[in-house]
């Protein structure tokens, strides 16, 4: 038997059931996940130091089992804020639990009280109160943010995080450096007119790389547009990046999308689509597909703080929750949506509190802390796959660069603010201190790495700049699976026109 600990928020939820505030039950979708839960079980038993007594198995969906177990009253509870076991009770489980209360020999409160204190409605029982009481629009304390390293790269005392071996730690650091240099040089290339457009991920290198490191290559990524680090981690080469930016014939996207709109099926990275948040409902679909195929992988969808205002955010999260789809929603809250600060974007305590509104477990993390991102995403991913439920992660960070090369953010935010986040709060600086302190990295290696990456990027630009563009036929292919008659005619017509007026068409497009 495998058990998860559920924390029922308050016993007034079940006024008619004298249920222990800490009840245990598990959700198991298919046999394969059982082995991974056994260690939790042992851990749990150790903490509780009590054997599990009564339990009952209930089928409530074609692919789910729910187990309810009653603990003895005298049990010593683990700390209430124990983050290892912080789950919320879903409405379905509520209803099931109340339906099966008699099985637990739980004492009903006297009938009179039952009628007075709670009432049935679609959705379950609710207590009612004669007072008019509004839920406050804000809490006194904001949701705390998970952090492992301080600004000087020292782990906080008592911080809980995943152990990172030297190889992974170094790969993460080197990838962050590569991303940073790539961003700088490609941005400059746009300024010089060599490419038409670029968007940097400056300030968000930790989110990009640590997330990629924490996921498996089978997890399917649905990016917004500021996550090229994931492709980088998965093996997309600098040359491949350059080919997409220059729209050459070697671009996997065949030169059809604007710069930074990367896509690579073999890296499980869905092509970037410009409209904001459209990928969120699609993530639910991909997760649904993975669920039907029983795969040990999840869909990972990104959005920014601005994207949470889109209708698709609401619907995508709501769907994933209702469908019980294994999606990991990651919101990069970097404070700005082009020129709109978050104070003009929403009035809630950031994005993390929105998860509960959809019945989705959520967490807030320091997005500039590499180790925090790595640990949190690892934990979240495991939960998503094991429980086949969505999870929302809000990664707090700052968009150091402009929104894109078409933006000048100094027009709407102070220069010293940008400088501060670029230097004092830089994710690379902080992580580098931790890595170097472990004896895994030296200043010489830093200089050498930066020099070599620079050279590689510059070279990639030179080569891509001179590479042929996609041929004219690629204008018409892939609209459908085969070229239909009307497109065939349109291509013919275009070619004839070019032949007649060769001097009016660009010379570098191969026919």
């Amino acid at each position: 038997m495998h058990l998860l600990v559920f924390k029922i928020c308050c016993s007034s939820v079940f006024p008619s059931l004298k249920i222990h505030p800490l009840s245990l039950f598990f959700l198991n979708s298919e046999q394969q996940t059982i082995p991974t839960l056994i260690s939790n079980m042992n851990l749990l038993a150790n903490i509780l130091k009590q054997p599990i007594r009564k339990s009952v198995l209930i089928h409530h969906r074609s692919c789910r089992l729910t187990l309810f177990a009653k603990l003895p009253e005298s049990l010593q509870l683990p700390a209430v804020n124990d983050t290892l076991f912080c789950f919320s009770l879903s409405t379905t489980a509520h209803t099931l639990l109340s339906q099966h209360a008699p099985l637990f020999d739980l004492q009903e409160q006297d009938a009179h009280n039952v009628n007075v204190q709670s009432i049935d409605f679609p959705g379950g029982r609710v207590t009612f109160t004669p007072q008019i009481k509004f839920i406050s629009e804000s809490t006194d304390k904001r949701v705390p943010c998970y952090r492992v390293l301080d600004d000087d790269g020292y782990p906080f005392a008592g911080s809980r995080s995943e152990q990172v071996d030297k190889e992974t730690a170094l790969k993460m650091y080197k990838s962050m450096v590569t991303l940073q240099i790539m961003d700088h040089i490609f941005y400059e290339a746009q300024r010089q007119g060599r490419i038409s457009f670029y968007m940097t991920s400056m300030g968000e290198e930790a989110i990009n790389i640590a997330t990629a490191a924490a996921l498996s290559p089978d997890d399917i990524i649905l990016p917004q547009y500021r996550e090229p680090g994931i492709l980088l981690w998965r093996g997309f080469t600098i040359e491949e990046f350059a080919n997409q930016l220059f729209g050459t014939k070697n671009d996997a996207g065949k030169g059809r999308q604007m710069p930074v709109h990367y896509g690579s099926k073999k890296h499980n990275f869905v092509t970037v689509s410009s409209p904001i948040a459209t990928q969120l409902p699609q993530a639910a679909g991909i997760a649904y597909s993975l669920k039907m195929d029983n795969k040990e992988a999840c869909a990972v969808a990104f959005t920014g703080d601005g994207g949470t205002s889109e209708g698709d955010f609401h619907a995508g999260l709501n769907f994933a929750a209702v469908m019980e789809a294994p999606v990991l929603f990651i919101c990069r809250n970097n404070g700005w949506a082009i020129s709109t600060p978050i104070s003009d974007q929403f009035r809630s305590d950031g994005v993390v509190v929105k998860g509960q509104a959809y019945g989705i477990r959520s967490i807030r993390i320091d997005g500039n802390d590499t180790l925090a991102v790595y640990s949190a995403i690892r934990a979240a991913r495991e939960m998503v796959i094991r429980e086949q439920k969505p999870i929302l992660v809000e990664a707090l960070t700052y968009r150091v660069g402009h929104h894109s090369t078409s933006d000048d953010s100094t027009k709407y935010r102070p220069l010293n603010e940008i400088e501060y986040w670029k230097t004092a709060r830089n994710p690379l600086g902080r992580y580098r201190k931790w890595v170097q302190r472990n004896g895994w990295w030296t200043d010489e290696e830093e200089t050498e790495l930066r020099g070599s990456i620079r050279k590689q990027v510059m070279n990639a630009i030179q080569v891509a700049d001179k590479t042929e563009k996609p041929s004219l036929k690629e204008l018409f292919t892939d609209v459908y699976d085969r070229l239909p008659l009307n497109l065939h005619e349109q291509e013919k017509s275009l070619r004839e026109t070019i032949k007649r007026h060769e001097q009016d068409f660009p010379a570098d497009v191969p026919l």
Binding site: K265, Q282, A299, M323, V479, Y480
Partner: protein, 307 residues
């Protein structure tokens, strides 16, 4: 769904309710609620979800409870469904079928009487077909599901009750082919969906009056079957288009342009296009009847054309 385990259905009330017009009746009991998925009310989202599922290998069929509601899914259909195969360089396929009841019904009000084929026809990357009989509904649905491209299949609210003897065994129709309903010599009448029945009713009257109309159900709204249409134009030299779309920017407008461009030399008279007026569909029964092309108008148009 029997033949291919990847085929699944998603939409509002498609599961245990069986769909707003009972098209998916019984499927949830047979295939389970994972393959026949009841979704929350968010068209943009379940269309987006279908696109995501299709990219990962499933073959989803999205049902719009009424075609008009799919206007809320326009973003996903236009920016993602139609485009992702192209913008990804062919890496990601979107073999979805988007279907639902549309067209003018009996006093359903303006929002439930939309003709989406005119709004969607410009989107590159999608195919559009309209079925009109039980026979072609089965064949076109199968073809749409098996197609690797996203297909929008337009059903009509008033045609669900048609009864016809059709083959039990499997048959698949061509998505890009028009259907010759009644061969003739004097005039080519092009139509689709419900208007086919108004045209056939008018044809009876016309035959009595001594005319010989050729009636073609174009079925494929994007792309047009210019081969069948062209052969007909070359034979009769007169074209009448009868559609339910509004006058401005409808299928008829595009078809007129297409025929003029390709078969101008074969026409003895300008193309006549009968469509609905550019008004929202009123609720009052009498008014509603007159926004839709009636057989009497078709007869009059043919007589005019053949003078």
């Amino acid at each position: 769904m029997d033949r291919d385990p990847r085929v699944c259905v998603m939409g509002e009330d498609v599961g245990h309710y069986g769909g707003s017009y009972k098209v998916t009746k019984g499927l949830a009991t047979k295939f389970g609620d994972l393959r026949v998925l009841d979704t929350p009310i968010a068209e943009n989202s379940f269309t987006g979800m279908a696109i995501g599922a299709a990219m990962t290998g499933l073959r989803p069929i999205v049902e719009g409870m009424n075609m008009g509601f799919l206007l809320l899914a326009f973003n996903q259909i236009s920016n993602n469904c139609g485009m992702l195969h192209y913008t990804s360089g062919g890496q990601f396929k979107i073999p979805v079928v988007i279907r639902g009841p549309g067209g003018v019904g009996r006093q359903l009000g303006a929002e439930h009487s939309q003709r989406l084929e005119s709004y969607f026809q410009s989107i590159p990357g999608i195919q559009m077909v309209a079925c009109s009989t039980p026979y072609n509904a089965k064949g076109l649905m199968k073809a749409a599901i098996r197609s690797e491209n996203p297909v929008i299949l337009f059903e009509h609210v008033l045609l669900y009750n048609l009864k016809e003897r059709i083959p039990d065994e499997e048959y698949v129709l061509n998505l890009e082919e028009a259907e010759m309903v009644r061969p003739g010599e004097h005039v080519t009448i092009l139509t689709y969906s419900r208007m086919r029945y108004h045209v056939m009713q008018a044809a009876k009257t016309l035959v009595n009056k001594g005319y010989d109309p050729e009636v073609i159900d174009i079925r494929s709204l994007k792309p047009f079957d210019l081969y069948t249409i062209g052969n007909s134009v070359k034979k009769t030299h007169r074209v009448l288009i009868v559609e339910e779309c509004m006058r401005t920017g409808g299928i008829g407008a595009s078809l007129t342009a297409s025929i003029n461009e390709n078969f101008h030399d074969y026409l003895d008279a300008p193309i006549v296009c009968l469509s609905s007026q550019d008004v929202p569909t009123p609720y009052a029964g009498v008014l509603e009847e007159w926004t839709v092309v009636q057989p009497a108008q078709i007869v009059a148009a043919v007589e005019q054309l053949c003078q």
